[in-house]
């Protein structure tokens, strides 16, 4: 039954489940194609955060003498760069997912939510590789993190993923109509990088600003990563709660907005 829909429409998550094989193939395609015909392949997944870490260590750690909560600066930076790289990549990829898949949107029906979702999920293997390097670094500098720390990491990755997807849903849908978004995203990512405690510790801020700051969900993710893997005084629970709430709102509103404007994608794109 095909009828014009009006106003807000349900998310139809059951439909997403029906199309899970398509989701799987979209992720598989992105992952397969990403490093085809490159010399060093998946090593790129490690080199990017690693080089950024070196640059940060030299400029912020050595030259600017940035505090790092008593942790070795390279470790301090890399523990943040691993989730950040995943997030930034997921955000950029999902924002352009609809425009990049124009031929799919205009030629075949699939729930369009799958496209940004697949792009975010497609970053997981890269995250896995760089996470292994991170574990190696932790092992080198101190001792391996606890099992509960690793479980926390899983939850934090989920949070980073949900944030990237939530923002990605908004931006990808807007990008269909306004290609301005493709210029906004790199810029936004850069600003966001500085609004997240990657090169510096969030302990530089004092309450209540610190909780307001935590409305940036990546603050929760990054602080959580450092706490869960490198150890710290107390879990950043308030920060995490604020981050999770902000993410939840972004994701749910993004999903409804996306579904609402989805019906005109094929016409406007």
């Amino acid at each position: 039954m095909i009828e014009p829909a009006r106003g807000w429409v349900p998310l139809k998550l059951s439909e997403l489940a029906e199309y899970r094989e398509v989701l799987y193939f979209l992720i598989w395609r992105d992952v397969k194609v990403r490093y085809r015909q490159t010399l060093i392949g998946a090593a790129w997944a490690i080199i990017q955060p690693l080089v950024t870490m070196v640059v940060f260590t030299v400029f912020f750690g050595r030259l600017a003498k940035m505090p790092s909560d008593g942790l070795p600066y390279p470790l301090f930076a890399f523990a943040a760069l691993v989730p950040w790289t995943f997030f930034a990549r997921g955000l950029a990829q999902s924002s352009e997912s609809l425009v990049a898949n124009q031929h799919l949107i205009t030629k075949v029906y699939i729930p369009r939510l799958l496209l940004p979702l697949a792009r975010v999920l497609g970053g997981l293997p890269d995250l896995g590789f760089s996470f292994v390097v991170l574990l190696g670094m932790i092992w080198w500098y101190q001792s391996l993190p606890s099992l509960s720390g690793l479980l926390w990491v899983l939850a934090l990755v989920l949070l980073a993923m949900a944030t990237a997807l939530g923002v990605g849903l908004w931006l990808s849908a807007l990008n269909v109509q306004y290609r301005d978004i493709q210029y906004v995203v790199p810029f936004l990512t850069q600003l966001w990088l500085f609004a997240t405690p990657i090169a510096y510790p969030s302990s530089l801020l004092s309450e209540p600003w610190r909780t307001v700051y935590a409305l940036n969900p990546m603050v929760g993710v990054v602080d959580g990563f450092r706490w869960a893997l490198l150890g710290g005084t107390s879990p950043p629970l308030a920060t995490l709660a604020a981050s999770a709430l902000a993410t939840f709102i972004t994701l749910v509103s993004g999903a409804f907005f996306f579904r609402r404007v989805e019906r005109s994608f094929a016409d406007v794109i």
Binding site: I2, P4, R6, H103, V108, S264
Partner: protein, 440 residues
């Protein structure tokens, strides 16, 4: 289970086009304002209009930058029928298929489709140049709605159908365009759906492969599946579909047996019909001696008709007025096919008038074209008259009427059982006699 598999009711689709600032662009500022200012309600209200292309002001009265791509389209397709959809470019055919495939939403009306739908609007949907043939089969198959197990089951068959056995693990960017298209179609051909929606995909590939595709579609039909098929290849439509609809300007112009619809379309496309008359003597083609008044293609009952069975005779009727007596006239008809190739010329050899001076008055000449003479397709007929010697044409109007010759593929025309292209402007049914002489 319902009788029909597709039921379309009053379907309409409204598009905004044009170069003036689109409503969306004008509203970017408003959307941003709504994000940054309190009052998100404003966004949702204005946004609905921008994004859904509905309820736009002036929707009822089309303006320069708005068009109805489809309007009031209704039809039912019974289970197991192949419906051909034809019409000029920009008529709304693809929009219709896109709505039925759920790619875009209708502005008004509704469509009901019963059963699993597979739509094939383009060859190679989802193909990625970096992936190998095998990988692309999985990817494209999944996007077109196949389950993984289904693809795996059909994999060998798909590869064999596409004739790419040797290259199945090569990235498709290294494929020749023919291989690419064959592989893409092979995936689509193995979709197991109750309803198949196909847009102009047979236009690609060499004729051998096209034939294979047509046979595959025949095969699909025999399994009781419903096909909606858009094509510009009228011969294929007439051959493959029992029924066709003609869409033009967003509305269904004609709905009926495909040979008739195809015939009507071809003639309307050529801006000719099976009848043409010149009611005003002064402007009728001709000189002071004779003028052409009417040309018609008529059936055995004398009615104008535009679609002719290739096996049946048809009659051309030419009416002309002789305005000056004392001339020996040779009326003639010239037949041309759509490509402009002259099939033949026939002239009036009626013994009663041959070599005789004609009196002033009206003549109505009829010529019967036998069945099993001309090839399928459109024939354009021009009528004229000359005198000789000295050679002088008194009137001639070329390509003034047309008719469509259709082969129903029943096996008793000159085609026999051949389904592919049959070249030539004539296609006589000739007797063959064979003598078996045994081993020499």
């Amino acid at each position: 289970m319902p009788e029909f598999s597709v039921r379309v009711k009053d379907l309409a689709k409204y598009y905004s086009i044009g170069t003036r600032p689109r409503p969306g662009e004008a509203q970017l500022r408003e959307i941003l304002a709504a994000i940054f200012l309190p009052g998100l309600r404003k966004l949702s209200r204005r946004g609905a209009q921008t994004w859904s292309a509905q309820n736009l002001p002036g929707a009822a009265a089309p303006t320069d930058d708005h068009i109805w791509a489809l309007r009031g389209v209704s039809f039912d397709v019974p289970r197991g029928q192949i419906l051909g959809i034809i019409g000029p470019n920009g008529a709304g055919k693809s929009t219709l298929l896109k709505i039925l495939s759920r790619i875009t939403e209708p502005t008004e009306g509704r469509a009901e489709l019963c059963g699993r739908i597979a739509s094939l609007l383009e060859v190679g949907v989802g193909f990625h140049p970096e992936l190998t043939g095998r990988e692309n089969i999985y990817l494209s198959g999944a996007l077109l709605g196949m389950k993984k197990t289904e693809i795996r089951r059909n994999l060998d068959e798909i590869i064999a159908f596409a004739e790419v056995e040797k290259f199945v693990d090569t990235p498709v960017k290294r494929y020749s365009s023919g291989m690419y298209v064959r592989l893409a179609f092979a995936v689509a051909a193995h979709l197991e759906s109750e309803i198949l929606i196909v847009d102009e995909v047979l236009a690609v590939g060499d004729s051998a492969f096209q034939r294979k595709c047509i046979n595959k579609m025949e095969d699909v039909r025999q399994h009781g599946r419903t096909i909606l098929f858009v094509s510009h290849n009228m011969a294929v439509i007439a051959r493959l579909c029992e029924r066709a609809i003609l869409i033009s300007g967003g509305v269904v112009q004609k709905d009926g047996p495909s040979p008739e619809v195809v015939g009507a379309y071809l003639l309307s496309h050529l801006r000719t019909s099976s009848e043409r008359s010149w009611p005003d003597l002064a402007t009728a083609p001709g000189d002071e001696i004779a003028r052409l008044r009417r040309l018609r293609v008529v059936d055995e009952l004398g009615r104008a008709h535009d679609t002719v069975d290739i096996r049946k005779p048809t009659t051309i009727e030419m009416t002309y007025d002789v305005l000056q007596s004392g001339w020996v006239l040779w009326p003639y008809l010239l037949f041309r096919n759509e490509a402009g190739i002259c099939a033949f010329v026939t002239r009036d050899l009626d013994p009663e008038w041959r070599g005789r001076e004609r009196p002033v008055g009206r003549f109505v000449s009829t010529v019967e074209i036998p069945g099993n003479l001309l090839a399928e397709g459109v024939l354009l007929v021009g009528g004229g008259a000359y005198s000789n010697p000295p050679f002088r044409i008194h009137f001639y109007d070329g390509d003034s009427v047309a008719f469509h010759i259709n082969d129903t593929h029943d096996g008793d025309s000159a085609r026999g059982d051949w389904q592919g292209d049959d070249p030539g402007v004539v296609r006589p049914l000739l007797p063959w006699i064979n003598v078996f002489e045994g081993t020499p």
